[in-house]
Amino acid sequence: MPLVSLQNVHKIYRIADQEIRALDGVSFELEAGEFAAITGPSGSGKSTLMHLLGCLDTPTTGRIVLDGIDVSQADSDRLSHIRNRKIGFVFQSFNLLPRLNVLQNVELPMIYSGVSARERHQRAAEAVELVGLSDRVQNRPLQLSGGQCQRVAIARALVNHPPILLADEPTGNLDSKTGADILALFHDLNRQGRTIILVTHDAQIAAHARFQIEIHDGRAATRRTPHPVS
């Protein structure tokens, strides 16, 4: 059974009389352990697709199954639960809480899964170590560089051990050197067995992915590269 499965997914926004088909019949399947890249021009629907995969929203029609759970019509609480357990989300703009330090930011998802304070500390410290920031646990996000911030965000996405890691243009706010480092981190994580789906503008980056999803006007074309450039 595939880890991610989309069947004829539509997302339609209606503003006044206008109908915006942000996603217009997207179908694909993704096995566990894949590394998928979503590409496409601006406004094509990449972020919309990520939001659906990340359970921040539900499709207008169509079916989405994540890790065996049909999330297409799930209610708000159920979606929250799935976001908490099944999804790790990395944003372009990091989205760290400025008043919390690194460790506290990484602990955040576990607060909503009822993990005890002690275990929270321990697991957060492990995740921070995994992204190579053990010496900055007490720092606030504003005291970190962009690349470090994104590492913290990745640690936060990993800390609940979700089966799916989503990243919407994770290198968009970083210079090319730092971006490459972050990308290398994603590849490392993938090698360790994590399933990763990331959105990118960079054809170079996409070329490294085994599975490519190209979106145009809300329609997706998928391609599998048996031996990606690496």
């Binding site: 921040l56 929250s80 976001r83 998802p109 909503y112 609940n160």
Partner: protein, 443 residues
């Protein structure tokens, strides 16, 4: 998310914005302080009035009064002898629930004189129980004894005000053994009553004395009750009958024989818990002595206390309403600031939602924050009211000094917490219904 985590987040938020949080709390602080002060003031006022009432006979005092006979018994009215010494004796013997019985006769418009000094002061014929029932105390000499009554002795116990009027040259002396004339008949002074005054006046007098000043004369005197009490002249009841009531002249100047009717019959109930029982017991006895004619009734202090209670309640409610409004305004302040702080934290809420916070987690977080503000504001309000009450104690008359009942503290503080909770509901609802995607994109 458990409550403790929510509480920690709320506290952290408040600590991060100390000054803003304090300003937010200010409304609650002032509201609680004014609510508690108001409770203190009315409690003090009620207590002052109660104390005054107590000094002239507390709730255990019952007055047997004359009453209109009911219609169907009207023709038989004269069958009843009215309130007499017989009643007093029957009650004393027959009712175990009545501890003291004081039959009294007032000699209205009596003249009491000594040499050139004359005063028109009511003279009361009394028995031993008079002292207890009317909360009198003897400062010097002794009170009237049973023997005085039996022998119809011409002795008198007089109040301080009487001494001052008849011995103007030495108003604070105790003229024991001296003679006064009551309606022209000589009586020996055997006792002097205490000087009665309000607690506040006594304190003022003592302060004045310790500072070596002559105390200014008090202008208020507790509804005139203290003054009247200080003017008492008590003589044995039997003496009064013998000397002044032995031959009463009727309308045609004919001698009607001795008049044994009482002007007052005052009882003291031994156990106030069995008040009603005692009253019905007395009523039974009086029904017998009055030969079935219902020409008597009871006047209890209960009615007075009820009146005080209801006026205090009115004051409490109106004052409480005003103070509550200020607390509500404080609540609106909390709502306002919480809304502002939410619009500052839209992105944070988006992030929390993205990592798995449910709507109710966000709701709880905001509600806990406003509750904590109400809670801390309530505590600070209590602290502030300590200062405020101390100020009020200084400026209000001593016997009405505001004091704080535990219930008032609980109500004021509880109200502050409730205001905190309620004022957080709308902001919490707004925050929890934000769309996570929009919130994440919010700049």
């Amino acid at each position: 998310m458990n409550l403790l985590v929510g509480l920690l987040i709320g506290l952290k938020e408040i600590r991060a914005h100390k000054f803003r949080s304090f300003l937010t709390m200010l409304g609650v602080i002032l509201g609680v302080a004014s609510l508690l002060s108001m409770f203190g003031l009315t409690a003090g006022m009620t207590k002052g009035m109660r104390d005054t009432l107590k000094s002239v006979g507390g709730v255990e005092q019952v007055r047997v009064v004359q009453k209109e006979v009911s219609q169907d018994l009207l023709p038989l009215r004269d069958v009843s002898p009215g309130r007499t010494l017989v009643d007093a004796m029957a009650i004393k013997k027959g009712s175990v629930l009545i501890s003291h019985v004081s039959p009294e006769v007032n000699l209205g418009g009596a003249t009491v004189s000594r040499g050139a000094h004359t005063a028109r002061i009511p003279v009361v014929g009394a028995t031993e129980d008079f002292l207890t029932v009317n909360i009198h105390e003897v400062a010097a000499g002794r009170f009237l004894s049973a023997l005085d009554g039996e022998r119809a002795q011409r002795v008198a116990v007089i109040g301080r005000e009487v001494v001052r009027e008849l011995w103007p040259e030495d108003p604070e002396s105790n003229p024991l053994g001296q003679t006064v004339l009551i309606n022209g008949r000589p009586f020996t002074v055997v006792g002097i009553f205490n000087f009665y005054e309000r607690e506040a006046d006594r304190r003022r007098r003592e302060i004045a004395r310790s500072e070596g000043r002559t105390p200014s004369k008090s202008t208020r005197d507790g509804w005139g009750m203290y003054r009247r009490k200080n003017q008492t002249v008590a003589i044995p009841l039997r003496t009064l009958f013998v000397e002044f009531k032995s031959g009463v002249l009727g309308p045609q100047n004919e001698d009607q024989g001795p008049d044994h009717r009482l002007t007052d019959l005052v009882l003291k109930v031994g156990d106030t818990d069995r008040f009603e029982e005692a009253l019905s017991q007395v009523a039974n006895i009086l029904n017998f002595t009055h030969r079935g004619i219902d020409d008597f009734g009871f006047d209890t202090r209960e009615d007075w206390f009820d009146r005080i209670e209801s006026s205090a309640r009115a004051a409490r409610i109106s004052g409480g309403l005003i103070a509550s409004i200020s607390l509500l305004v404080g609540g609106i302040g909390i709502t306002n600031i919480m809304l502002a702080s939410i619009s500052e934290r839209v992105r944070e809420i988006g992030v929390r939602r993205a990592v798995g916070a449910r709507q109710r987690d966000i709701f709880a977080q905001i509600l806990v924050e406003s509750t904590v503000i109400g809670f801390i504001g309530g505590l600070l309000g209590l602290a502030f009211s300590v200062v405020l009450l101390r100020l009020l104690v200084m400026i209000s008359p001593a016997e009405n000094a505001p004091f704080v009942e535990p219930g008032a503290v609980l109500i004021s503080f509880g109200f502050a917490v409730v205001v905190g909770v309620v004022s957080g509901i709308y902001p919490a609802w707004r925050a929890s219904t934000l769309d996570p995607i929009q919130a994440l994109r919010y700049e």
